[in-house]
Symmetry: C2
Amino acid sequence: MNTENRGLSERKKQILKAIVDAHIEGGGPVGSKYILQNQQLSCSSATIRNEMAELEEMGYLEQPHASAGRVPSELGYRFYVDSLIERYAMTTNEIAQINNLLKAKMGELDQILLAASNLASNLTNYTGIAIKPRVQSVSITKFETIYLEPDHYILVAVTSTGAVKSRHIHGDYPVTQATVTRLATALNDHLTGLSADQITLPIIMKTEAQMGIDAQTVGTVIKVIYELLSELDAGEMRVSGIDRLLQYPEYSDVSQLQELLGTLEKKEDILNLVSRTETNDINVVIGSESEVKVMNNSALVFKPIVKDGKTVGAIGILGPRRMDYAKVLATLEGLSGNIADLIHGNNQWNGGLPDGGNQSNGNA
Amino acid sequence: MNTENRGLSERKKQILKAIVDAHIEGGGPVGSKYILQNQQLSCSSATIRNEMAELEEMGYLEQPHASAGRVPSELGYRFYVDSLIERYAMTTNEIAQINNLLKAKMGELDQILLAASNLASNLTNYTGIAIKPRVQSVSITKFETIYLEPDHYILVAVTSTGAVKSRHIHGDYPVTQATVTRLATALNDHLTGLSADQITLPIIMKTEAQMGIDAQTVGTVIKVIYELLSELDAGEMRVSGIDRLLQYPEYSDVSQLQELLGTLEKKEDILNLVSRTETNDINVVIGSESEVKVMNNSALVFKPIVKDGKTVGAIGILGPRRMDYAKVLATLEGLSGNIADLIHGNNQWNGGLPDGGNQSNGNA
DNA sequence: GATTAGCACTCAAAGCAAATGAGTGCTAAA
DNA sequence: TTTAGCACTCATTTGCTTTGAGTGCTAATC
């Protein structure tokens, strides 16, 4: 991901930075004259042209066509993001916004992430993404049953990630309050700590045998649990502020936009990308650096949210490749800090575990 | 919504229908000659022109500009949908698809709705919408608590609509297993059947007094319950297949598209529209018939899903005004039938109440 | 009175050519 | 190494013409 690009002279760096900045702001190719005017450089446009030609040769710039200005290449952006970017300081106003909106939403992790990605989208004017990554293996820490009617009870499961899931169960055979209570105990004894792929036939049979409850009921419940676990593994992703994309001319090409929306809908690709990421730092994925198709003139910036050493979610920003990285990075950094505070819980009535409970609504 | 439009001659109806059909298929204005060719009418193009002129005068047709063909007006579409539309029979293939995909998803209502709107989007090639409408007043039927650690327990609530919601609670004061159990009993005694606006200060105080649990803990829990209830009232909406919109030329105007995506994001308008609808039939909202802005050249077709006399959700299709209503209506009809079957539960292990449990992720 | 053929008219859309101008590369001088 | 100068390139804009689908109207016909 990093090339040996230290070999750039100060002037080259300054020119490259100027071009990227200008391109981020304006969107179009940047010419030598423009740089001369908006930059204090003690040289002429011809010199700048020479430098630009060299930068192009080195792969940092591209020329859409012979008589156009230069546009940063993917490599150019990468260098910019890694080395040239200027720290953007959030305004107190923005910080206040984050605090207010996030504190108000302080409920389950789901909602915090959603609110945060929303906020990120608002603050940066790009598209926000809230992600709950796939996890290798969730297990269930605690079972509980709620008896409602003779043929109807609810199974509640608390997962190892702190999420609470539930399922209504309508049995064919009437069950009693007592049976249902016994069921919970039995499940707690035998099935806690197992992930979906650990629930094998032997275990099921052993459980059935030792439970002293009719096999039908047990079978039904185990099936439900299995489904629950599979669902928990799946990961989820929510997008907010798609409409913002449209204001950038790079997306006025309908076919391009269509493909991008397609990948956003499918969710698969982005979910994979984020789930597979190992670092907890902010990630900047520019264009074809990722295996995600169609991101060619787009970039995705995302920041994992970590709780107890585990990645429990991520918030991200999707926008044109020429996005205002300084601002985006600062925003995500700020938000993730606040989220960390929230989920490490210093608030009165809620704030401990991530994931108060509900994370259905997967990607269908 | 209905004008006295019975005064149309058979031939006028035929011509109007032909124009609408042609426009749905092609998208452009329809001329007299085209109709003559694709329709068996024993008259000439001049006669058709005359009829068209009259239809325009009556408000059923519009002319984009003087030398263009005719385009159906909103009124024209309304008449078409109400009177002229031909029943579309779903293919066995499509029916099979519905059955398979829906049966596979048979879990909570949330997921069924989502899967259904997704499927609707696939089958019709327009954008699908899954809606859980606002409800006036949900109450909680049953409380349960799950003890985890000395300062940490989970509150589980079963609502009157059958949804199960939960919240982690981290108390400032240690609680015991026994306290937590007692808490559940007390809540079940005092707070079941109340909606958010019925939880008033007197009731809270009375509950606190009779509970015999420290006021802090009770106060915290009641606050959580209140928030839970408010959240349940809120309604939710999910969109799938936005990218499909782009294939219709009416949305290649970026600014239009942007506004439409905006309303889809806000959700407010559509949620209101659906929540306020009283009939359980399929609704067709064409363009500016609704108060929803920006739907000018779009139409929304939706079908409420009813369970025990209550509207528990809706699935809908959003597309260009010139959408294939016959197909859309048939699809929604078919899907809603299947959903009704599912939630009235004739399946072995699950199927009774709607809403197994999880419907967080509201509109932030 | 309804229908039709015929014709003049309209107007968006497509095609074409010239003008514009931002920006470059190269060369030769400083 | 830098720079001024100049010829060259090429996307974009502009104005113009052509095309053709489609209409409205009128006068003849059924």
